[in-house]
C-alpha cells in the first residue's frame, strides 16, 4: 500500500515540477527571446498614426469598389479574428454549392466578366481559418479593372501595384504565389 502511495507522491510532485519548468519558465523564456522580434511576437500589427488598422497576417473585410476584396470568410460573421473557422461544408453540401454559385455571379458582375469566364477558386471559396490574408495573383488580376475604374487609375498602374505586392514561393519552393490584400490596399491608398 505504501508503495502505491509513493507512486501518487511521485505523480503529484512531478506534475508540479513539470508545471513550473514547462508551463512557467519555458513560455517565459520564449517570450523573452521572442523580444528579439517584437513586431512579429506582438502580431505583425499594421499601425497608422495612433491607430492599429489590423495585422499583416490576418485578413480583414473590404467591400468598397476601390479596394481589392479578400476571400469569403466563415469566421464569425466574416473575418472575426477572435473566432477563426472554416465553413465545414462537405463537397456535396447544397449550402456550399448555393453559396458558391451566388458568389460566382457577384464576382462576375462586379468585375465585368462574361458568364463563361471561370472564376478563380480562391475568390469564391471560404478559407480554412476564415482569416486568410491572401488572394491568388489571378484573383487580384481579375479585380484590377474594377479597382482602376473606381480610383480613376489606369489598369496598368493597378496591375503594377499588384505585381510589386505579389509574394513568390518562399525560398523559391515553398507555398504558393500570393497577394496580401491589406498590404496591397494600403499601397493603393499611398499609406505604405
Amino acid at each position: 500500500m505504501n508503495e502505491l502511495l509513493s507512486e501518487f507522491r511521485a505523480s503529484i510532485v512531478s506534475t508540479v515540477l513539470i508545471a513550473i519548468v514547462f508551463c512557467g519558465a519555458y513560455p517565459l523564456a520564449v517570450y523573452g527571446i521572442g523580444r528579439a522580434f517584437p513586431a512579429k511576437a506582438d502580431g505583425s500589427l499594421v499601425i497608422l498614426g495612433d491607430n492599429v488598422v489590423g495585422s499583416a497576417l490576418i485578413g480583414q473585410p473590404f467591400s468598397g469598389a476601390g479596394y481589392f476584396h479578400p476571400r469569403p470568410s466563415a469566421a464569425g460573421r466574416g473575418y472575426d479574428a477572435a473566432n477563426s473557422s472554416g465553413s465545414y461544408y462537405g463537397p456535396l453540401s447544397k449550402k456550399l454549392i448555393d453559396d458558391v454559385t451566388a458568389r460566382v455571379a457577384d464576382y462576375r458582375r462586379e468585375n465585368g466578366l462574361d458568364d463563361g469566364t471561370p472564376v478563380p477558386a480562391d475568390a469564391v471559396t471560404s478559407s480554412a481559418s476564415g482569416l486568410d490574408p491572401h488572394i491568388s495573383p489571378e484573383n487580384a488580376h481579375r479585380q484590377a479593372m474594377r479597382v482602376a475604374t473606381a480610383r480613376g487609375l489606369t489598369p496598368e498602374a493597378v496591375q503594377a501595384k499588384i505585381d510589386t505586392n505579389t509574394e513568390g514561393r518562399q525560398l523559391g519552393l515553398f507555398g504558393q504565389p500570393r497577394v496580401n490584400v491589406l498590404l496591397l490596399n494600403l499601397a493603393l491608398d499611398g499609406k505604405r
Binding site: 508551463c23 485578413g59 480583414q60 500570393r178
Partner: protein, 573 residues
C-alpha cells in the same frame, strides 16, 4: 500535381531520412538512465533534483505492472489538474479576455483529451480558454502525454531487447529524462524559429483594430503565448490548436516555411524512434525496414489525397469555378492544395491532429485518406511512442501470420511468440476497432448523435465516423462541422479517448513484460527475416488487410459512396 509539389515531397522525405539517425541516437542516450549528453552540465542537477523531490530512486527498475501503474497514476493526476483549472479559470490570473468557467462536460472532455495525447477540441481555443488555461491546463499535457507515449515505446523495446528480465525500465526516470533532454531543447529552439516567422508570443489582451475600408468596423485580433504552445503541440504529436482553426490560423502557421517545419516536426521523433528500435535490439536493418514500411504507406496516402484534391470538386467547376488549382474550399492560399494534402496525411499518419486545412471540406477521396490513416492505427510514423508501439503490435502479428504460413513457431528477434503475446496484440487492435464502430453505430441511430451534424447524407455519416476514429485513435483532428460540444458527444468521445489510450497502452506493457521474461535465442537459418523487402511487403499487407477488413463497410457508407454520387449523380444534401 505540379513540379513544386513533387520537389517538396522528395525534399521532405530526404530530410526526414537524414534526421532519423541523429534523432535515434539522441533518443538512445536519453532513454538510457546512464546516457551522457552535452546537456548534462545544465540538466543533470535538475534531473537529480526532480528524483529527490519525487522520492524516486533512479537506480531501481519496475516490472510492467508497476510501470503501468505509475503511468496511470501520473495521467490521473494530470487529468484532474486540468479539469480543476478549466472549471476555475474565471477566478485565476492571466485571463485578460475574462473567459468564463469551462462547462463541466466540456472540461471533462478536454481534460481527458489532452491527458490522452488526443487534443480533440470540442471548443474554439481563442473564444474559450484563458492564457493560463492554454499555458498550464492544456500545454502541460503536450509535454507529459508525449513523454508518456515515448516511455511506453521504450519499455516495449526494452522488453524485446532484454533476455530473462523481470523489469522494463523505470517510468519516472524515462519521464523526467524525456522532458529535460528531448522535449525542452527541441521545443525551445522550434518556438524561437516560429516567432521569427510571425507566430505570436505575448501576454497582451486581444488587439482592437479599426479596419481600413470602414473604420467603424472593429476587428478584435487574438493574442497570447502561442509560439511556445504551437512548438510542442507539433513535436509531441498532440495537435491541439491554440485557436479554433489550428495550424490553418495565420498566427499559428504564418508562412510556407513555418508550415514545412511544422510538418517535419510531427514525424521527427516518431521517425527517430525506428532508429532507436534498431539500435536497442542490435538489428539496425530491422529499424530501417520498419521505417521503410511506414514510408511506403505514407507516400501512398499523400499521392491519393493530393490527386483527389487537385482533381477538385466537379460540382463547383460546373458552377463556374476555375478547375485549377483544385479544391480550395477550406484551404489557405499560402499553402495551396499540395501543402494542405501533405499536412493532412502527415497529421493523421501520426496521431497529431493539428490541421492546416479543413478535412471536412476535402473531396470524398481526399477526406478518405486522413480517415483511413487514423483507422489503420496511426502506425505510419504515428504519435510519439504510440506510433512505434502500435507498429510493433503489427510487426508481431505479421511474424505470427508468416509463421502460420510456413508452419513454424513464430519467432521475433530471437524471442518465441506465444499465444499470450498474440492474445494481447489482438486485444489491443480489436478494442479500438470495436470502440470506433460501436460508437458510430450508436451515434447514427440516436437523436443525440444526429443532432450535431453540419452536413446531411453520406458526408454526415463521415463526420461521425471520423469523430470516433479520431478520438479512439487519439488523433484529435476532425471533420469539424460536427457540433461535438454537447453532453452526449463530449461524454462518448471522452470514453473513446480513454479506451484508445489506456486499453492500448496496458496490453502493450503486458506484451513488454512477457517479451522481457523470454530467453533470447540465437538466430538460425529458420528464423523469419525481419529486415528484407519481403518483410516490408508482409507488414504493409498485414496493416492494410486488418484496416480494410475492419473499416471497408463503414467507409463504403461514407466517403466511397459520396465519391460516386459526386461524379455520377446530381444529388446534393
Amino acid at each position: 500535381m505540379d513540379i513544386y509539389g513533387w520537389i517538396e515531397l522528395v525534399l521532405y522525405v530526404a530530410l526526414l531520412l537524414a534526421l532519423t539517425k541523429p534523432m535515434g541516437l539522441w533518443l538512445f542516450k536519453v532513454l538510457d538512465p546512464q546516457g551522457k549528453t552535452f546537456l548534462d552540465p545544465v540538466f543533470r542537477p535538475v534531473e537529480k533534483g526532480f528524483y529527490r523531490l519525487m522520492g524516486v530512486d533512479p537506480q531501481s527498475e519496475q516490472d510492467w505492472k508497476r510501470y503501468a501503474f505509475s503511468l496511470l497514476a501520473f495521467s490521473l493526476v494530470g487529468g484532474l489538474l486540468t479539469y480543476a483549472l478549466l472549471r476555475l479559470q474565471h477566478r485565476l490570473p492571466l485571463n485578460p479576455q475574462a473567459m468564463g468557467a469551462v462547462p463541466d462536460h466540456l472540461a471533462f472532455n478536454t481534460a481527458i483529451s489532452f491527458t490522452t495525447n488526443t487534443n480533440w477540441q470540442s471548443y474554439g481555443g481563442e473564444s474559450t480558454m484563458s492564457y493560463l488555461s492554454q499555458m498550464l491546463a492544456l500545454a502541460i499535457h503536450n509535454f507529459t502525454s508525449a513523454a508518456a507515449g515515448i516511455a511506453v515505446a521504450a519499455a516495449l523495446v526494452r522488453g524485446i531487447a532484454r533476455s530473462c528480465s523481470k523489469t522494463v525500465g523505470n517510468f519516472w526516470v524515462d519521464l523526467v529524462r524525456l522532458h529535460l533532454y528531448l522535449l525542452l531543447p527541441l521545443a525551445l529552439v522550434f518556438s524561437i524559429f516560429l516567432v521569427s516567422q510571425g507566430v505570436i508570443q505575448n501576454f497582451k489582451p486581444y488587439t482592437s483594430a479599426r479596419t481600413l475600408d470602414n473604420g467603424a468596423v472593429i476587428q478584435s485580433i487574438v493574442q497570447g503565448p502561442m509560439a511556445s504552445q504551437v512548438a510542442i503541440k507539433m513535436l509531441g504529436t498532440n495537435g491541439g490548436g491554440y485557436t479554433n482553426a489550428n495550424a490553418a490560423h495565420p498566427f499559428e502557421n504564418p508562412t510556407p516555411l513555418s508550415n514545412f517545419f511544422q510538418m517535419l516536426s510531427i514525424f521527427l521523433i516518431p521517425s527517430g524512434l525506428t532508429y532507436y528500435l534498431g539500435k536497442a535490439v542490435k538489428h539496425q536493418r530491422h529499424g530501417w525496414a520498419v521505417w521503410g514500411a511506414m514510408t511506403v504507406l505514407f507516400l501512398g496516402g499523400v499521392l491519393v489525397c493530393w490527386g483527389a484534391e487537385v482533381h477538385g470538386n466537379p460540382r463547383l467547376h460546373a458552377a463556374g469555378v476555375a478547375s485549377v488549382p483544385g479544391n480550395m474550399e477550406g484551404k489557405e492560399v499560402r499553402f495551396g492544395v499540395f501543402e494542405s494534402a501533405l499536412f493532412a496525411t502527415i497529421t493523421t499518419d501520426a496521431s497529431c491532429g493539428a490541421v492546416n486545412s479543413m478535412h471536412d471540406s476535402f473531396t470524398p477521396l481526399g477526406g478518405l485518406v486522413p480517415m483511413l490513416d487514423i483507422q489503420l492505427g496511426e502506425v505510419v510514423f504515428g504519435g510519439v511512442g504510440a506510433g512505434l508501439y502500435g507498429m510493433l503490435i503489427f510487426v508481431i502479428l505479421t511474424v505470427f501470420l508468416a509463421g502460420l504460413m510456413v508452419g513454424r513457431t513464430p519467432e521475433y528477434l530471437g524471442k518465441k511468440i506465444e499465444s499470450y503475446d498474440i492474445k494481447v496484440c489482438v486485444i489491443a487492435v480489436m478494442v479500438l476497432i470495436f470502440d470506433i464502430l460501436c460508437f458510430t453505430a450508436w451515434a447514427v441511430s440516436s437523436k443525440w448523435g444526429l443532432a450535431g451534424l453540419n452536413n446531411a447524407g453520406p458526408h454526415g455519416f463521415s463526420e461521425i465516423l471520423y469523430a470516433f476514429s479520431s478520438t479512439t485513435g487519439n488523433n484529435g483532428s476532425a471533420f469539424a462541422g460536427l457540433t461535438a460540444n454537447t453532453p452526449w458527444y463530449n461524454t462518448t468521445l471522452a470514453i473513446s479517448m480513454i479506451v484508445g489510450r489506456f486499453f492500448f497502452i496496458v496490453p502493450v506493457l503486458a506484451l513488454a513484460g512477457s517479451m522481457a521474461k523470454k530467453k533470447l535465442m540465437p538466430e538460425s537459418a529458420g528464423s523469419f527475416p525481419v529486415s528484407d523487402p519481403m518483410f516490408v511487403v508482409l507488414l504493409v499487407g498485414t496493416i492494410l488487410i486488418v484496416g480494410a477488413l475492419s473499416f471497408f463497410p463503414a467507409l463504403s457508407l461514407g466517403p466511397i459512396v459520396e465519391h460516386f454520387m459526386m461524379i455520377k449523380s446530381k444529388l446534393l444534401f
